[in-house]
C-alpha cells in the first residue's frame, strides 16, 4: 500500500480546498452580478493582512474559534450534537468572571486566581451541558433539542443575573461583572505597531488541542468515544456503556466550551463580563468543527480560515462591498464541504476496496472475483 498516506492526506484536503474554491467562485459571480470587481474585493481582503494588528487579531480569534470547535467536536465524535456550546460558554464566562472579580480573590496568588477562574468556567460549562446529558440518558430527550433550549435559558439566566441587584455592578451606562483586578488576568504580548496584543489564551487553545489529540488517539476513553460514534451497535456488543459515554462526552464538551470565553476574559481589556461580551461563537464552532472534520489539526486550519475571513471583512467596505459577503462565503464553504466530505468518504471506501481486491489478486489470482 505504497503512497496510501500521501493519498489519504490529498483526499482529506481535497474537500475543504474544493469548497473554498467553490465559494470563491460563487461570491465572484455574486460580485459581478452586483457590479463589483471580484479582484478588487478579494484584493482588499488580502491587503488587510498587511497590518500587524489584523494578523494578531486573527490569531487571537483563531484560538477562541478553535476552543469552541474542539468543544463541538468532542460531541460530534460520537454523533452527539452539542448545539449548546454557545450557552455553555456564555454562562461559564459570566460565572467565572464573577468569581474572578470577587473581592476575596485579591488576597490570593495570581496563579491560584487564574486556576480557580478556569476551573469555575469548566465546571459551569460542564454542568450546563450535563443537564442535556442527564435528560438524554434518563428520559431519551434529544440533545439537539435540549441544548438549543438551554441556550435560550442561559440567555435569560445571564440577563437575570447580570443586574446590580444580583451579581453585576453599574459603571456609568455600562453594566458588567466586577472588573478583575491586576493579577487576576493572564499576561498579553505587545507587538510594535499594533494596538492589539497577542493573547496568551492562544496557548490555552494549543494545550486543549494537544490533549484532545492525545485523548482521541492514545486512550481507551478516546477509542470508546470514536467506536460509539462509528457504530453504536458494535460499541454495545463490545461492552462500551453508551450511556456513560454520552454523559462523559457531554461533560467534557461542556468543560471545553467553558474555556471558550477565557481568552477574552483573561486577556481582554474589559476584564469583565458585560453585554458586550462576544456571542455566537458556539455556533461558529459547529461550522469550524464540520469544516475541520473534528480533526485536531484540521480544525486549526478551519479556525484560522474563519478568523481570517472575519478579520478581513471590514476591508471590503473600503471598496464599497458589503461586509456580509464574508458571511456568504462562509455559508457556501460549510454547505459545500459537507457534501464534498460525503463524496470523498464514499470514494475512499470504493478506492480502498479496489486496492485490497487488487493486492489480494496479485498475491493469489484465484481470488480476483468477489
Amino acid at each position: 500500500m505504497t503512497g496510501s498516506r500521501g493519498r489519504r492526506i490529498l483526499l482529506g484536503a481535497a474537500a475543504p480546498v474544493g469548497a473554498l474554491v467553490f465559494s470563491l467562485l460563487i461570491t465572484s459571480l455574486l460580485l459581478i452580478a452586483t457590479g463589483h470587481s471580484p479582484f478588487e474585493a478579494f484584493g482588499a481582503m488580502a491587503s488587510a493582512f498587511e497590518r500587524v494588528r489584523v494578523i494578531l487579531g486573527t490569531i487571537n480569534q483563531t484560538a477562541v474559534f478553535y476552543l469552541s470547535a474542539v468543544a463541538v467536536a468532542i460531541g460530534f465524535k460520537m454523533n452527539l450534537f452539542n448545539i449548546g456550546v454557545d450557552g455553555q460558554y456564555r454562562l461559564a464566562a459570566m460565572m467565572s468572571a464573577v468569581v474572578a472579580g470577587a473581592a476575596f480573590m485579591d488576597s490570593l496568588p495570581s496563579f491560584l486566581r487564574i486556576a480557580i477562574t478556569l476551573l469555575v468556567a469548566m465546571v459551569v460549562g460542564a454542568s450546563w451541558a450535563g443537564v442535556a446529558a442527564l435528560l438524554k440518558v434518563t428520559r431519551g430527550v434529544s440533545e439537539v433539542i435540549s441544548t438549543i433550549m438551554l441556550n435560550a435559558i442561559a440567555t435569560f439566566l445571564i440577563a437575570y443575573l447580570l443586574t446590580p441587584q444580583m451579581l453585576a455592578v453599574l459603571e456609568g451606562n455600562n453594566i458588567s461583572t466586577p472588573k478583575i483586578t491586576e493579577g487576576g488576568q493572564l499576561p498579553v504580548f505587545q507587538f510594535e505597531g499594533s494596538t492589539t496584543p497577542l493573547y496568551s489564551g492562544v496557548f490555552l487553545a494549543v494545550i486543549v488541542g494537544v490533549i484532545y489529540a492525545l485523548v482521541l488517539s492514545r486512550t481507551v476513553f478516546g477509542f470508546s468515544l470514536k467506536a460509539t460514534g462509528m457504530s453504536e451497535t458494535a460499541a454495545i456488543a463490545s461492552g462500551i456503556s453508551v450511556k456513560k459515554m454520552i454523559v462523559s462526552a457531554m461533560l467534557l464538551s461542556g468543560a471545553v466550551a467553558g474555556l471558550v470565553g477565557m481568552p477574552e476574559l483573561l486577556n481582554g481589556s474589559a476584564a469583565s463580563y458585560s453585554l458586550n461580551f462576544p456571542t455566537g461563537i458556539g455556533f461558529t464552532g459547529i461550522a469550524i468543527a464540520l469544516l475541520g472534520r473534528n480533526h485536531p489539526v484540521g480544525m486549526i486550519f478551519s479556525a484560522l480560515l474563519w478568523a481570517a475571513l472575519d478579520s478581513s471583512a471590514n476591508a471590503l467596505q473600503g471598496v464599497g462591498v458589503p461586509r456580509e459577503l464574508v458571511t456568504i462565503m462562509q455559508g457556501v464553504i460549510v454547505l459545500s464541504v459537507v457534501v464534498a466530505y460525503e463524496f470523498v468518504r464514499r470514494y475512499r471506501l470504493v478506492l480502498e476496496a479496489r486496492d485490497v481486491a487488487r493486492a489480494l489478486a496479485a498475491r493469489n489470482p484465484q481470488e480476483a472475483t468477489l
Binding site: G239, L349, E367, T369
Partner: protein, 528 residues
C-alpha cells in the same frame, strides 16, 4: 469453463425447436475493481425449475439483479423466449413477464394479503379501487396454482411460509411467467420447504418457468430439472439433478474438496463453565409477554451446546442476556461458579467470555475502522490492547498481525478498513479476536453465516481446536447441518423456551425442524 474438480455428468440442454424461456449469453458485470460476473452462460427451458447454485459471493445475486433489470451488464445478451431484450429497470423486466421473489420479504405487516398483492398495480373501476375484482383475481390465482392463503387476512398474523406464498402471488398477479426465487428456503423450516416445493411443482405444471437460487444442495436436487453451477462469478458447468451427488455439486461450487462440520472424540469435561437457571427476559412492551422464560442450561468445559430454532424465537435475546446487553428479569447466570447475571457487558467479557455476534457488520466490527482498531474492539480494557487507561497501539497492532497470520485473514495489511475485506475474512478476524485473551466461554451466534467454504472450514477448525483445550461454546445457527455436526448436545428454542434435548449423533434435520416449529404444528404456533 474450467473446473478443478471433474464436473460430473455434464448435460447440455437438449436442442429443441422451442426457444429457451431465458437465455443468458456471455454476461459480464463489473464493479469498481472487481468482476462480479464474467462470461455467464445459462439456458433455462420453459416450464422447468432451473437451479442456480453457487457459494455465497459467487455472483448469483448479481446475475439475478442483471436479469431483473436492477443493473445493466457490460457485455453479453439476454434473450427471453428467443427475443433479445435489455432492461433499464425492474418495470421493464416485469413487462416481459419476469418476476422476482426476494429473499427478504417486502410486505407491509399492517395491510391485508390482497392489499399487499395489489399494492402498486391496483385495479380500478371508475377511478375507485375495485376490491371485489382484486380479491376475485387473487383467489383465482391461489386456486389455480395451489397457493392457499386467506386474501383477507392481515399479513402480520401470517407465518413465514404463508408470507412467502403472498410474495409469489404478488409476482404472479403482475403477470410473471418466469419467476426468480432468491434463496427462498433460507427462512423456512423443513416442513415449509416441502410445502413450497409442492407449490413450485404446480407452477411448473401450469407452464411457468422458475429460476431457483440456492446453495442448499439437497433441496436443489429434489426440485430442479436443470442445475447450473456458478463459481467465482462465472458459470462452471451444468449438472443433471437425477444423477449428481451433493458432494459432486459442492465440489463444483467450491472447485475443491469440501469441509464437513464434525467433531472428533468428545472433549466434554465435568467442569461447568456456564450455568443458567430460571432466566427470564421481559419483552420490550410493558406488560407484554416475556421474550425468554425459565431458561436453564449448563455448558461444560470442552463442550459445544447447539441451539436450534426458527429465527425470532428468542435466540438473540438469550445471547444478549448472557452478554449483559439486555437485563434479565429473573433467574441467575453463573460463569465458572461466579454470578455474572448483573455485571456489565465489559465485566463479563473481562471474565473470559468471547462473543461472535450474529450481525458482524453491525455488532462485530467498526466497518470504517482499521483492522487493528477492530482488534481492540471489545478488548479495549485489556492487554495487549490497553495498559490502564492508555491504548497500547504497538501491542495491539502486533497482535492483529498475529491474528491475521494464525487465522489466515486475507488482507494486504492491518491498516486497511474492515469494510474492504470480504465477509469470510471479516469473520475470521472476529473469530481470531474473540479467541484471544484465553476465553473460557465462547458465544458463537451464526459463526459461519454468509462466509465462503474456505472460511467456514477454517472457523470450524478453530472451534474444534478451542474445544479441545477446554473452551465451552454456545453455538447458535440456522444451518442445521452445522449444528448437528459441531455440537456435543443440542436443544431447541421455541417461543422463548428451551424445549427438549437432542443427541446430535442420532437426531435428523426433520426431527429438529419439527421441534423448531412446535411438533410441526406451525400454523397454530405462529398465529398464536
Amino acid at each position: 469453463m474450467s473446473s478443478d474438480a471433474k464436473p460430473p455428468d455434464l448435460v447440455m440442454p437438449p436442442p429443441e425447436d422451442v426457444p429457451m424461456a431465458v437465455q443468458l449469453t456471455g454476461i459480464t458485470k463489473r464493479f469498481p475493481g472487481v468482476v462480479a460476473n464474467s462470461d455467464i452462460n445459462i439456458a433455462v427451458r420453459r416450464g422447468t425449475v432451473h437451479a442456480l447454485v453457487g457459494e455465497n459471493g459467487a455472483g448469483k445475486s448479481t446475475l439475478m439483479k442483471t436479469l431483473y433489470g436492477m443493473h445493466q451488464p457490460e457485455e453479453g445478451t439476454i434473450r427471453v423466449d428467443g427475443a433479445e431484450v435489455s432492461f433499464n429497470s425492474p418495470a421493464q423486466a416485469i413487462a416481459v413477464g419476469i418476476g422476482m421473489v426476494h429473499q427478504h420479504f417486502m410486505l407491509a405487516d399492517n395491510l391485508t394479503v390482497w392489499e399487499n398483492i395489489v399494492l402498486g398495480s391496483e385495479p380500478t373501476s371508475g377511478g375507485r379501487l375495485d376490491v371485489r375484482q382484486a380479491r376475485a383475481r387473487i383467489d383465482e390465482l391461489g386456486r389455480r396454482y395451489g397457493l392457499m392463503v386467506d386474501s383477507g387476512a392481515l399479513v402480520e398474523v401470517l407465518g413465514v411460509g404463508a408470507r412467502q406464498r403472498v410474495e409469489i402471488l404478488k409476482v404472479l398477479y403482475r403477470g410473471a411467467k418466469i419467476l426468480i426465487l432468491d434463496e427462498p428456503t433460507a427462512v423456512l423450516v423443513p416442513q415449509e420447504v416441502d410445502e413450497l416445493f409442492g407449490n413450485l411443482r404446480e407452477l411448473k405444471a401450469e407452464g411457468l418457468t422458475i429460476i431457483f437460487i440456492s446453495h442448499k444442495l439437497d433441496e436443489v436436487r429434489s426440485i430442479a430439472d436443470d442445475i447450473t453451477v456458478i463459481r467465482r462469478g462465472t458459470t462452471v458447468g451444468t449438472a443433471d439433478p437425477r444423477s449428481v451427488t451433493n458432494r459432486q455439486l459442492a465440489e463444483m461450487m467450491v472447485g475443491s474438496a469440501l469441509p464437513v462440520p464434525e467433531l472428533r472424540e468428545s472433549t466434554v469435561t465435568e467442569r461447568v463453565v456456564l450455568q443458567l437457571a430460571g432466566v427470564s427476559v421481559a419483552g420490550s412492551v410493558v406488560g407484554g409477554r416475556d421474550v425468554l422464560s425459565d431458561i436453564g442450561l449448563a455448558i461444560h468445559a470442552g463442550e459445544v451446546l447447539g441451539i436450534a430454532g426458527v429465527e425470532g424465537n428468542g435466540q438473540a435475546e438469550l445471547v444478549d442476556a448472557i452478554m449483559g446487553i439486555r437485563p434479565i428479569a429473573g433467574g441467575s447466570i453463573e460463569l465458572a461458579g461466579k454470578d455474572i447475571g448483573h455485571l456489565s457487558t465489559s465485566a463479563r467479557r473481562e471474565s473470559g467470555v468471547g462473543f461472535i455476534p450474529e450481525d458482524r457488520q453491525r455488532q462485530g466490527l467498526i466497518l470504517e475502522g482499521s483492522l487493528w482498531e477492530n482488534r481492540i474492539l471489545g478488548h479495549q480494557t485489556r492487554r495487549p490492547s490497553a495498559r490502564g487507561f492508555l491504548l497500547d497501539r504497538a501491542a495491539a497492532k502486533a497482535d492483529t498481525q498475529r491474528i491475521v497470520e494464525t487465522f489466515d485473514v486475507r488482507t494486504p495489511g492491518i491498516e486497511v478498513t474492515a469494510a474492504s475485506l470480504s465477509g469470510g475474512n471479516q469473520q475470521k478476524l472476529i473469530v481470531g479476536r474473540e479467541m484471544s485473551e484465553d476465553p473460557v466461554l465462547l458465544i458463537a451466534s451464526h459463526p459461519t453465516r454468509g462466509v465462503d467454504v474456505g472460511a467456514q472450514a477454517a472457523i470450524w477448525e478453530h472451534l474444534r481446536m478451542a474445544r479441545a483445550v477446554g473452551l465451552a461454546v454456545l453455538l447458535i445457527s440456522a444451518d442445521l447441518e452445522e449444528l448437528i455436526g459441531m455440537s456435543d448436545r443440542l436443544t431447541v428454542i421455541l417461543r422463548g423456551r428451551l424445549t427438549g434435548a437432542y443427541d446430535p449423533r442420532t437426531v435428523t434435520t426433520e426431527q429438529l425442524g419439527a421441534a423448531m416449529t412446535g411438533a410441526g404444528d406451525e400454523h397454530v404456533g405462529e398465529v398464536a
